[in-house]
Every structure is written in C-alpha cells, then in structure tokens.
Amino acid sequence: MCFIRLIERVSCRFRSCDPRLYQIASLSTLLAYGLLWLHFDVSILQIALTFGTALVTQYAGTRLYKLPAFDPLSALVSAAGLCIFLRTNSMAVAALAAGIAIASKFTIRWQKKHIFNPTNLALLVVVTGSLGWISPGQWGQAAWFGFLIACLGSLVVTRAVRADVTLSFLGCYIGLLTARALWLGDPLTIPLHQLESGTLLIFSFFMITDPKTTPDSRVGRLIFTLLVALAALGVQFVLFRPHGPLWALLICSPLVPLIDRCFPGSRYDWARPSKGELTPPLSAPVFVPLSIPSQQRRVS
C-alpha cells in the first residue's frame, strides 16, 4: 500500500510538468547507457549536430509559420530518438535526418495536425536512401528488464494519457506473435526472444505514443494500434524486411485523419493533456475544427 501511495505521490509531483520532460530524461538516459555500456557507434559530434539541427529547424519553423512561441521540447524528443536509432558515418546525414524530422511537422499536415511521427519518417527516409541504417539488435537482451522498468515509469509520470496506445499495441503485437508461434509449433522462447528487444520497447513507449500523430479518440487509437501491429508482422513475416514496426507506423499514419473522421475526439494539447474525450458540445459525430483555435495552434 505504501508503495502505491509513493507512486501516486511521485505521479502527482510530476503532474505539473510537461510529459515530454520525462520523455527527454528517459531517452537521454537510454542514450547515455547505449554510449557508455553498449558502445553505440554514435559520435558526440553526431549527437550535437542532431540536437542542434532539430532546434534550429524548430525555431525556423516557428518563425516561418508565425507560431506564438518557440517550443523546443518536441524537437528535443525527436532528436533524442534519432540519436538512439540512427547510425550513419556522415555527419551531414545526421543533420539532414534531424532537419527532415522537424520540417515534416510543419509541412506534411492534414487538418492542422502533422501526419507522420517526425523521428519515424526521418529514419525511414535515411534508411531507404541508403544514407544510414538502424541496428534493431543493438540493445541485446541483457538489460531488457531495466528497459521495461524505465519505459513503464513513463506511464506513471506522463499521466498515462496515451497509455492505451502502448498497451493496446503491445497487447496486439504480443498476441499475434504468440499466435504465430503456436501455429508454427515453435517453442514460446521464440516469441519471448522477439519481444526482448529494446528497440521494440522504445518504439512502443516513446514513438507510437506521440499524441499528435495518433487518433484523437480512444476507439480510434485501438483500431490504429491493431493496424500497426498487423502491418508490423506483415513487413517482418510476409515481406521479410527488417524494421517492421517502424514501417508499419509510417504506412498506417496516413489513415489517422480517416480514423479521426469516423471516431472524432478532442485534439491533444501538450499543455492540457487529455485522453481524447469530446466535450459535450462537440459530441455530435461531425468533423469540426477541434479544440485549438488557429491563432493558438501549436506545432509540436
């Protein structure tokens, strides 16, 4: 009981903060762990360039699109994600990836919402152009439980506003992997091994959860995560290509406006995190400009 109370207290303490602060802290810790213990092939210059370019692009976008305030938090989250995932021998590519990630938020939009997760899009553009690569096996299996704890911590601290995305994606993905193993007659050590992946956990807790690129309503999010899980397995076991979840998210992201149209919910605002329930006046099933007036819009 004391433990639960302690968690609640910690959770309350963090409630006053922006959830992205915890994301930045978690991703930076994971990056530091990767650099110091696992000897990731990421130079300090690459990290500096990625963060620098992301912030500069965010600032340029803020000016160009005349946004009311420069908000660096999302750019920092995207930059940390790129440093964790992207490997390249060219510093120009590292900067390019950061530029693509942040610029995509301002340029690829539909109904005042960006379509692609910035980190995801940049990673796949770079990988497809053979400019860099992603090492999904880089974390190994040794530190998996530590990883899980760090990731679960994010659910507590980020007010669990998008916990449904993580939980439903992982639920669908684990269920489908287990079903495949049972159908093949494989021992369960195989799906377990496939799940013991740091890359999968980071994707599930920090990438797919981006409230700006997932459907607004809970039903929409559940449908979306099921589609992503199915597409991820399709990429891996039908097309036999690596990075299944990343490709799946990219493929399914353009479906979000359609899902939002069928299952409307309130638009997410980092300053006022919500679970997406519509306020009573907006409950009619018609697609209307949602909660943020255009003069106060945020691109983050």
Partner: protein, 465 residues
C-alpha cells in the same frame, strides 16, 4: 555547422530569452551543459596497421561450420564449406531453402577459394618495432586513419506427405529438393532414406514446413566421387532469389552436444552486414599484448573469443572483419581476385578479360561474423540486414618490440623508465581479454624480476635521496 546555421542558432537563443515562458530557459541550460559535456568527453582513436605476423585460423574451433553468402538485390548465393571427416557414406546435409531449386541453381565450389576467404579475413597479430628514442620522435605521435571506423517409392512418399520436387546429381553429390505437408512424414522419410535426423527435430521441421520452406538434402554419390577421383568433399553452392536474408540454425541446435561455432562471410555490394534479431558486437581490437603471445596466438584468440561470448551472456554475434575487398592492411592473405569472388557468387562483378589475380575486385564489401550458438541462447534463426556502413574493421592485436640499443641520452632513460609501465599494461590487457591468470602472465613476461617504479617512491624522486 555552417556560419549561417550558427547565426540562426544564436538567433534561436536570443529568441528564447525574449520568450516569457521561463520553462524554455530552464531547458536550455541543462541541454547545453549536456552537449558541452559530451563534446568534452569525445576522444579520437588513432591506429596504425603494423606488420602482419600471424592469424587465428577458423580451424581453432571445434564443430565449426563455415558459410559464405553473396547477396545483392535479393539474389543470394550460399556456399557451404564441407569439412566432413568421417565415412562419406555417412554424410548427409539437410538445409531449409526458400524456393524449389533447379539444377542450374546448384553448384559445387572450390574449397581453396573458401579457405582463401577465411585466411584473408582472419583475426591477425601484427608487430611494431620501437625506434631509437635518441634519434627519432617517439612513433606514438604518428597516427594513420586507416582503420576508421535416393529414390524412395512414389507411393511411400505420398503416404508420408513428402514430395520430391526435384532430384539432381551435381558433382559428387546426389541432391533432392523436398517439400512436405507435415513434419512427422518428412522425419520418417528422411530416416528411412538414411538421413540421420536428431530426436526432437520434428517440431523444427514442422515450423519450416509451415513457413513454406523447401528442404535441400544432399548425400555423396560414391560412384561419382570415385570417377572424379576426389578425396575430400567440395563445398556445395546454391543460388536463389528471395527477400529472406537469414540462416537457419535451429536444426543444428536440436540435441546438439554443446554450443556450435559458425563463421559467416558476407560478400555484399553496399556495406557491412549485421544480425537484426541478435546484438552484433565488434571484438576488441588494436590492443597491445605481451610479446610472448606471438607463439600462442591461437590459444590467445580462442580464449579471447570465449571471454567475449561470456561478456555478452552467450547471446552475441561477433564482427571479426569488415573491409572493402580491394585492399587490406596488414594483409593476412591477398584480397580475392575477381574470378574467385565470382566463384563465390559475386554475380555483380563482370568477368575479366584475362584470368589471374589482380586488383580488379570492385564494389565488394566483406563482413565476417563469428557466432557461438546453442538452443538456449539462440532460439531463433539468424536474421540479417545489409547496412550502408563501409567503415573498415579488423580484429587486430599488436606486439610492440622495445628498442634494445645501448645509446645513452635523456630520451633513452625516459624511454627505458616507461617500458615497465607499458609491460604491466600489456599484462593487464592480456588478462582482461583472455581471462588468463595475471600472475602467470607476469611470470611468463619475467615482470617479477624487473625493478618496478614503486621502488622509487614519489618523495624519493622528489628529493632525489
């Protein structure tokens, strides 16, 4: 970062200072501090390549298999080395393959080419000789950036649900391509036809059948072997087109007596290959080790590898070599010629007008992976991806011979003084890399007999008394 970017960056900071949201300001300070700390921490690695003295042969390891995979645009050629030592009548090979192979897709290779590839990419020992400190600048100031970073009855087959999709005799081998409806039938068929299948293989076969894989099975045709006058079995090669980039290891782990060793050599167009479902780890390299290891390099490398396997909790795949095929430095063997590479399946190399060796090999990147696997730690088949990483890497270990001249000068005294520290460092490195006893290492180096720096305490050196 360009000058313009820099200015934009400065504008960014100025903009934030004008921003009434103090949160932004609070963020900048830790972010900048973090970046500055990381920049300060950055170091440069330098290495120079030395003279080649020895290599660690893949034959050092028991139960080692060697496979070469040439791949580009989903077109794959697999060469399977065959070092079968027993009675050739007993030899049988069962490999899951993604497609039914035609006769032209099966070939018998040359063991010598595979051996050449193994020698070229082997972990190596190099040596340097210190120069006279009285005449030259100490060579540590030099740096080179080279390292960068049979035919059963048809009825029986039907009853067992096994179909012989194709049947060929290639060289000294009889080859069958089988497909099956269910694993028990396939297992029975293989057993009845003289293929020794380990107990428990049924579930693995079942999984492969469900994944729509076919089975490439080979036996030695004794008549053909006698006709060819061969005393050894040559490597089998298969060529197919499939998006699957994997190596099935699960059949080999069933009922295996201890872990097995696998060397995979990838010949690709773009860059280094790594595993996507296991961690690929670079072996420690460019480490200075004691001179006496020269005669025990095989033992050294075997123990170093065992130590690294332990460190990765038996779940790592190790990178031993990654290099552009056009050159090597130092060379454990000459780079392979265009003809040799083509014989290993490098189809994107155009045949040369004239035969023979030469520096014509272009656009071929070699990756050598070494894995020690068993069922407990490697439950899933190895899945690979080709990356765009063309940074060179080699498992290279260094012997540095001290200068033994008699010249006397201040530099020579300082040089002799620091030698003891260097020997101790080499002993520590060797112990860490191999897990060998530090005491025995020191003994083998005669370190105990040497005066140590500790005999002159710091205060004695301070006042010279």
């Amino acid at each position: 970062m360009s000058h313009q970017d820099y200015e934009a960056c400065e504008d960014g900071w100025a903009g934030s200072r004008q921003d009434p949201h103090m949160l932004n300001m609070r963020l900048y300070v830790p972010a900048v501090l973090f970046l500055v700390t990381l920049l300060l921490w950055n170091g440069t690695a330098s290495a120079f390549c030395g003279f080649y003295v020895a290599k660690a042969d893949s034959k050092l390891f028991n139960k080692a298999s060697e496979v070469a995979i040439a791949r580009a645009e989903d077109k794959t050629v697999i060469t399977m080395a065959n070092d079968f030592k027993g009675d050739v009548k007993e030899f049988a090979l069962v490999v899951p393959v993604p497609t039914v192979l035609e006769k032209a897709q099966i070939h018998v290779g040359d063991a010598a080419v595979l051996k050449h590839l193994a020698d070229y990419s082997a972990p190596r020992l190099v040596e340097y000789f210190d120069a006279n400190p009285c005449r030259l600048l100490y060579p540590e100031s030099r740096s080179m950036d080279m390292m960068g970073k049979a035919s059963p009855s048809l009825q029986r087959e039907k009853a067992l649900g096994v179909s012989v999709e194709a049947q060929y005799t290639v060289g000294e081998y009889d080859i069958l391509i089988l497909s099956a409806n269910e694993s028990a039938g396939l297992e029975t068929w293989l057993t009845e036809n003289g293929y020794r299948i380990p107990k428990g293989a049924s579930s693995v076969l079942h999984s492969y059948i469900k994944q729509n894989l076919k089975f490439f099975v080979a036996k030695v045709n004794l008549g053909e072997q006698a006709k060819l006058g061969l005393t050894h079995l040559r490597p089998l090669q298969i060529a197919f087109e499939s998006p699957r980039f994997m190596l099935p290891i699960r059949l080999g782990t069933v009922n295996a007596d201890g872990p097995q060793e696998l060397f995979v050599y990838f010949l690709t167009r773009q860059g280094r290959v790594e595993t996507t479902n296991y961690r690929t780890v670079r072996l420690p390299e460019a480490q200075e080790i004691p001179l006496y290891v020269k005669d025990r390099f095989g033992d050294f490398y075997r123990d170093l590898f065992a130590q690294q396997v332990k460190r990765e909790q038996h779940r790592g795949v190790f990178l031993e070599y990654a290099w552009d095929m056009t050159w090597c430095d130092p060379c454990a063997a000459d780079p392979l010629s265009g003809e040799e590479l083509r014989s290993l399946g490098v189809f994107w190399l155009e045949p040369q007008g004239r035969p023979g060796r030469g520096p014509q090999a272009q656009n071929v990147f070699l990756t050598r992976l070494h894995v020690r696997y068993d069922e407990a730690h490697f439950p899933e088949d190895l899945l690979f991806q080709e990356t765009s990483d063309r940074a060179n890497f080699q498992a290279r270990y260094i012997l540095r011979h001290p200068w033994t001249g008699q010249d006397e000068c201040t530099a020579a005294a300082a040089y002799r003084e620091q030698l003891y520290g260097r020997y101790e460092q080499q002993a520590q490195t060797l112990a860490t890399l191999t897990g060998w006893n530090i005491g025995e290492i020191r003994k083998a180096m005669n370190l105990a007999a040497r005066p140590t720096r500790d005999e002159n305490k710091w205060y004695q050196r301070l006042w010279n008394n």
